[in-house]
Symmetry: C2
Subunit: 255 residues, 2 copies
Amino acid sequence: MGTTQLESVQEPKYWHLKTVLSEALDSDFAVGEILPNERDLAARFGVARATLRQALEQLELEGRLQRRRGVGTTVAPPRVGVAVSTAPHEWAGDVGGEAWQPVDSTVAKAPAPIAATLGTDPAEPVHVVRRIRETQGQVVAAELVYVPGSSVPDLSAIEASGPVRARAVLRELHRLGLQGQDRSVELGSARADDAKELDRLPGAPVLVVTTRYLTAVGTAAVSVATYRADTCRLTFGDSGALEISHDDQPERQAS
Amino acid sequence: MGTTQLESVQEPKYWHLKTVLSEALDSDFAVGEILPNERDLAARFGVARATLRQALEQLELEGRLQRRRGVGTTVAPPRVGVAVSTAPHEWAGDVGGEAWQPVDSTVAKAPAPIAATLGTDPAEPVHVVRRIRETQGQVVAAELVYVPGSSVPDLSAIEASGPVRARAVLRELHRLGLQGQDRSVELGSARADDAKELDRLPGAPVLVVTTRYLTAVGTAAVSVATYRADTCRLTFGDSGALEISHDDQPERQAS
């Protein structure tokens, strides 16, 4: 356990190729540049295409490459830091703000685990608010906020639809007086509807942030936000705007 | 943007297979059970092996399946919630606690972006403390904590090695009086040394948590922790032990 010598660890062939490719990206390619096709790349590095593909997948996981529909594989810009707020007063009060754009609100049954967290009957429809989050002109996250009718008792009078209705649900929820929240972050794959809004293919790796919004008496709402794992770095700070300014990759020497 | 109808989204073939497989996992397999080999599975579902492999990869991303060296593909248990503390006083003071086990401490150059965050000369060696974190008897994370000599001025007198030295470095760092921290979470792939400690293959998807430890005058230390993305769900709470109790998957009906 105490030794961390690389020599003692068996490295698959694609792992070595990944390191070589990573250096080539630094020295021979610019951000946004389209990579040669797989056949040419495999020939250039003298490897089988299956090996090449594994190495490319690794680099995509690490945020070095992006696969874009209709474009091909390009060299990715550094990931964008996206602040995941820990201040409960900011979220629903900020519905007209820059971070989240309400899209619509429907009434539907919540998935069973979410109904269990909300303490509602799984057969009982809840409000489902869809929001998207843009950063630097790009959609970085799609979110569903599940709000039981009991959390927004005055909402039934509202006849609006689309973003107007979404805002109304969030405003009513905010009026409830949220006292705290907890969150989890895990790896997931984009559902088809999220993938479309994120401009990704279904199944693309995403960071799933599940937030429980709490009042004095229990859970008022649950949101499930899906962040693009290729372009985003989620930031959590207790020191305001401070943010880690590097990309967590080991040092790469330009040759 | 406003419509989220599944019908309007093009779904790849493996995506449908993934849904079918997911239902089969619920109805026909128990947690820990080994799946049939790829050839048999492909025949059972009437698909090409390439399609099957893509679907299996999706299910692995979502934490439903685990690939284990020398065992094969097994049905994964629900992910374990691992609390990522936001209380600065807990981290270094808790070096002997359950969460993190110090392994060793060496002196080495920090990667350039980390040196930049620390405000140290990239050529200047820093203390590099390695810790591992166990939850429910399983290693869930491996971490390197980079500590410049200036943050632990009294350390030079210590001659110990291994965990004893690691504890000494963290204890000295704690004495400095940390005032806050900020964090980022992003997707990465396991380096060979981390992969070994996490019992994974190099390149396995991991959640990389980078933490900056702050004093009144600047950054005292930076840690880079690598959590198994297959088995872990990182939890962030401002409400103590509260934790989201579901697995974020859409409801699955047992057939």
